[in-house]
Symmetry: C2
Subunit: 427 residues, 2 copies
């Protein structure tokens, strides 16, 4: 546009310093630049979660309110070098965005002849505790017998596709994925922006397989958080593992040195992420009586307390009987069946989100729980889910349907600038 050429002349006089800075930071040359000066980006301390550390943020971090999750497939033509380059770019971009910066630095995107290095919709927004967390799926290591990126000998022994569970109705297009990206923030626009910009950086190397927004966390993950309610209207996560309990996190969430040896030891300090999209039959649930809803869940709806108590945090006693001599809690209720005491101590950190994706062709809400859990060993999830799945087991199965599934090995944290996500995997 000529109008912009007109502007660019003055820009080259007045704002060339900024454009030069952009050239240094963003790797673009000095070209036409607009007259604009960057506006300050909100970086209030309360809204920042450190990106660098021994573990990736977004696992032990107190659960934020919003989620944008994406499963990414690396394209057939991409090489190992392309993959490493992508992970480097992603890491730098995630570090910038979680710090409240735009990609490319403060002087980004003022070259009128190039696409902006940041898509812009989070500019001026507080990062609102943005975290970005990635994981590597089994298919990244081996697909159809092919060692795609020379990583086959580094696939953790525990990273195998999840088994089929009774009554699963999985959509393969919404399951699996070479790489998982979990972006969490208290602001959905920030979470959406974060995933969108990683996807953009992947152009030509990797594509989105599916993505999912979540709008309300469904578990307390720290002892300071109030227990939220899920789409069933029940408090969820009362007895969740607390990420501020470091000993419990080491025992149940973080892969320890020695869990895997040799070429597979890159996963130490990481975790395993399970994602399950669980559709809820909301309309059926809403017509059920309060008494039956409570029977199905195994807790009271209003208080979240076990039967016979007013205290949400009262100890669960599944053997307790009422005055009539019968068990207060149905043994097939969801809470007892999922409880560690009935699963050999199996304990995971749940970090799921509610979703509503409009309505289906019958006008029913396409709503439910995007279940996310982190655990030291995927067998934890498998044990519990095998216990729950099937109409003869968890009473809740009448009201829910698992429609997608995925498992990823979550590498440890990025220790410092210059390092990248999964660096030890490629060392």
């Amino acid at each position: 546009m000529n109008s912009q050429q007109g502007i660019s002349r003055r820009a080259l006089l007045g704002a060339a310093g900024g454009a030069a800075a952009a050239g240094l930071v963003g790797g673009v040359g000095i070209g036409k630049a607009s007259t604009e000066t960057p506006e300050p980006v909100a970086t209030s301390g309360g809204g920042l979660v450190p990106f660098y550390g021994a573990h990736q943020a977004g696992i032990g971090t107190a659960a934020q309110d919003r989620l944008h999750f994406a499963a990414i497939d690396v394209l057939p033509g991409a090489s190992r070098a392309d993959l490493v380059d992508l992970l480097r770019q992603w890491t730098d971009a995630a570090a910038a965005m979680t710090a409240g910066d735009v990609i490319g630095g403060p002087g980004e995107s003022q070259n009128l002849d190039a696409p902006p290095s940041d898509t812009g919709e989070a500019r001026g927004l507080d990062p609102a505790k943005l975290t970005m967390t990635i994981g590597f799926g089994p298919s990244l290591f081996e697909r159809a017998g092919t060692d795609r990126f020379g990583l086959a000998d580094r696939q953790p022994a525990l990273l195998r596709p999840l088994p089929a569970f009774a009554d699963d109705e999985l959509d393969p297009d919404r399951s699996g994925g070479d790489i998982a990206i979990q972006a969490c923030s208290d602001d959905p626009q920030v979470a959406v922006h974060a995933v969108r910009n990683l996807v953009r950086l992947a152009h030509g190397v990797a594509n989105v397989r599916y993505s999912q927004l979540g709008f309300g966390r469904t578990s307390s993950t720290t002892s300071a958080q109030v227990t939220p309610r899920n789409m069933l209207g029940f408090k969820d996560g009362t007895n969740n593992l607390r990420s501020d309990d470091a000993a419990a996190m080491d025992k149940h969430v973080w892969v320890q040195r020695g869990d895997e040896r040799g070429a597979r030891a890159w996963i130490a300090g990481g975790s395993y992420l399970v994602a399950r999209r669980i559709r809820m039959h909301i309309e059926t649930w809403d017509r059920d009586t309060l008494g039956d809803q409570e029977t199905v869940i195994g807790r009271q709806k209003l208080s979240g307390a076990p039967f016979g108590s007013d205290d949400e945090f009262a100890a669960l006693d599944f053997a307790a009987k009422g005055p009539d001599g019968e068990l207060r809690t149905d043994p097939r209720a969801h809470v007892p069946l999922a409880h560690p005491s009935h699963n050999g101590g199996a304990t995971m950190l749940r970090r799921g989100y509610s979703f509503v994706d409009g309505s289906d062709e019958l006008g029913r809400l396409d709503a439910g729980l995007f279940f996310l859990s982190y655990q030291r060993d995927p067998q934890t999830f498998i044990t519990v889910q095998q216990h729950l799945a099937g109409k003869q087991n968890d009473l809740l199965n009448e009201y829910i349907q698992h429609v997608s599934s995925g498992l990823w090995a979550v590498p440890p944290g990025v220790r410092r600038p210059g390092h990248f996500w999964g660096q030890a995997l490629f060392a």
Copy 2:
């Protein structure tokens, strides 16, 4: 469950007063009741928008951050009396929820033998400025030549289906609808809860036709709001009509007495709502240069200012030329084509939201703008859209696609408890 019968005995002694209150308020008898006592519901003054008034809330209200929109169809078997009864129930429920109460009052839903009167997931959450706004579509008055509810002579002359626009690709299943419900709140769980509970009350009388979540408002609607950015990364709504300008609202948004006469005068104090789901080709846009993006929009991206200025709120001068003697703003850019000065003064109140509904089968984000506008006369929207639509017009059309459409007549506000939405329509 026997365990709950055990509880109920004590409940009938200890909490019978609460159960009796529930019986009175919620219209259910005293049955088995749980031991729980209601927990306080957050009712912080800052989170409440008054429900009753001359106009419906959610139009002039400063735009909240989140949206749940639903289009509802009344079922073929429903009568006029069913419809009126539904509107009465909806009005009372909306008044309760926007006031931070649960449906059925504080003692609701403790009858174990009945479904809870409230689905529960907003319990304990601040209403976060929840507003609920409804509108009546042309099909409520007449469908396929049938006067379904004896309302045909009351259909406003201006309430006719929108005309086809060039290059529309509308999904009929996501367009139209007998009744529109707009729930806005700063908390998506509150907005979702509000729509869900109206839908639940409609069981057997009306069904969801489609619904849409939005996660970021895309316009400032009052002079106190900072201009947000849309999914194109541009500030949106800089020159939006401001709802705190009462004279402008009367001129452009609120239907005035005399606009419609006789049986159609029920719409006075109301408005007309247009909804358009506008899919954005995000990936294409993101690969476009900054200069071209700015040319297409007709403003600068970083500041939102007109070309040649640093001030977002600088007066727009579409005749301004740069030093090279050429127009600074392309006449086919979006901003000039949509501007009132190019549309005979046509001015609407935009109140749209960004959406991301996961990704499509090609891995592209299913993202864009759920455009909502309120205007005194639908012709305002029609004039502007006819000006914009078509590849030969708005340059932005290369990057967007209108995929749904709807128009509804929005009745005036409910004046006081006991009245109901659209009461004058049925008087």
